[in-house]
Symmetry: C2
Subunit: 241 residues, 2 copies
């Protein structure tokens, strides 16, 4: 079975200004790999509706799934829900079920469910809610787009709600060999191995430790037997030299 594909869209000026380092893409990448979904590209755009709409429409027409992160809070700079509605050409309004969830949450907390907080119940028409066990304000799925919070622990909880509902593919597996040789020493044999196993993906990642060059050689694929065969061959090639 071919693996489903996905893209990540990170929304937020704070990432582009250097204030905040995005960690949600890395988290999602690992989760998708385990679930057999290939993350094909990732983008970061500003809190700017035309930029969000353009990126979202490019990604959702190209890949099986799009995950977004950021911009669904109560403040004026949280414009993701409106941008998603605009991208899909649908309306957006305060939805009754989301209002009820949030009303109950703020009642329990003894906090006013004010106009700003009610913004978090604005959901594009036709979307389904994504559960937020951390702070209640829901994400939503519309079409093949999963809209989630930027705060990392909420993002992660939402990924945990969404992923089990998606059809995965064969798990994306990898094995790696760490060698105490520079990339340039190992490149020719590793390239030959990659040509021998065109169904696998091979990557070479150099490092320097205590002043000495080393390389991590990574073999990726979905067929564990083929990965084993390639790794056996790689070990033999490295040992021969």
């Amino acid at each position: 079975m071919a693996n489903p594909t996905a893209a990540m869209l990170v929304i937020g000026d704070e990432i582009l200004s250097g204030r905040t380092r995005d960690g949600n893409t890395h988290y999602l990448a690992g989760q998708l790999t385990q679930h057999g979904i290939r993350l094909m590209e990732a983008r970061v755009v500003a809190d700017d509706q035309p930029a969000i709409v353009e990126a979202l429409n490019a990604l959702r027409t190209r890949w099986d799934h799009v995950f977004t992160s950021g911009g669904i809070g109560p403040t004026h700079d949280d414009i993701t829900a409106d941008a998603i509605a605009a991208a899909f050409g649908v309306g957006i309004s305060h939805r009754a079920d989301a209002m009820a969830l949030l009303q109950a949450h703020y009642d329990r907390a003894g906090l006013e469910f004010n106009e700003a907080r009610q913004r978090m119940a604005r959901i594009p028409d036709g979307a389904t809610l994504i559960d937020n066990p951390v702070s209640t304000a829901p994400g939503f799925t519309i079409g093949n787009v999963h809209v989630m919070a930027g705060v990392p622990n909420i993002f992660q909880a939402m990924v945990a709600s969404v992923l089990p509902q998606l059809t995965g593919g064969d798990p994306l597996l990898s094995q790696s060999l760490r060698v105490n040789r520079g990339e340039g020493d190992i490149a020719t044999l590793f390239g030959a191995l990659a040509a021998e196993f065109p169904d696998l993906s091979m990557g070479s990642y150099p490092f320097i430790q205590n002043g000495a060059h080393g390389t991590n050689l990574v073999i990726r694929g979905t067929d564990p037997g083929r990965i084993d065969a390639a790794m056996t061959r790689l070990c033999a090639l490295v040992g021969q030299e």
Copy 2:
């Protein structure tokens, strides 16, 4: 003066598989902000020539500068230089000055300057080299595109070589106020403040510490007097409530 704009293009399967967490975008974002260049978007693509070419051509025609990270090493999966040449429609060959730099480097190290390592001297026609004080293999600038290594300390050294040569704008400044109140409590007054100062950008970033909600309110712009005025007003508004 309007601030120049830029985009980041991260190239590498290892980022999309979740093996490696990209830190170069965050580093570049901070450096550009200090230099008065606005980072407008960032993308991550796979080690795949059509994907690299398409993203690069989209970004270089839209923004003043594009910075790339990754894929310029000696192994078969290092395809960035060829992809950049293809995007610009120019040739690529082993360039004499890059060959000489690398030959001298490997002579000093007592290592063979083999065919794989010679790949790192392949530079698109018309490019200028970017100095690599860490491991010699150069990056290059072609048109408005700056092609740099993915290994973080080499990427950072290359940014340090390139940035002083670029015309910056007024520094992008920010001030932030940390309040021990949830975003929903502060959203209305902060939105009103943003409307009062349309020339500034304001962002609200919630956090939870020891179970209590708090928010960082950030005001960004290029005119320090305006930022001071907005911050004074913000402190007054927060204090009144």
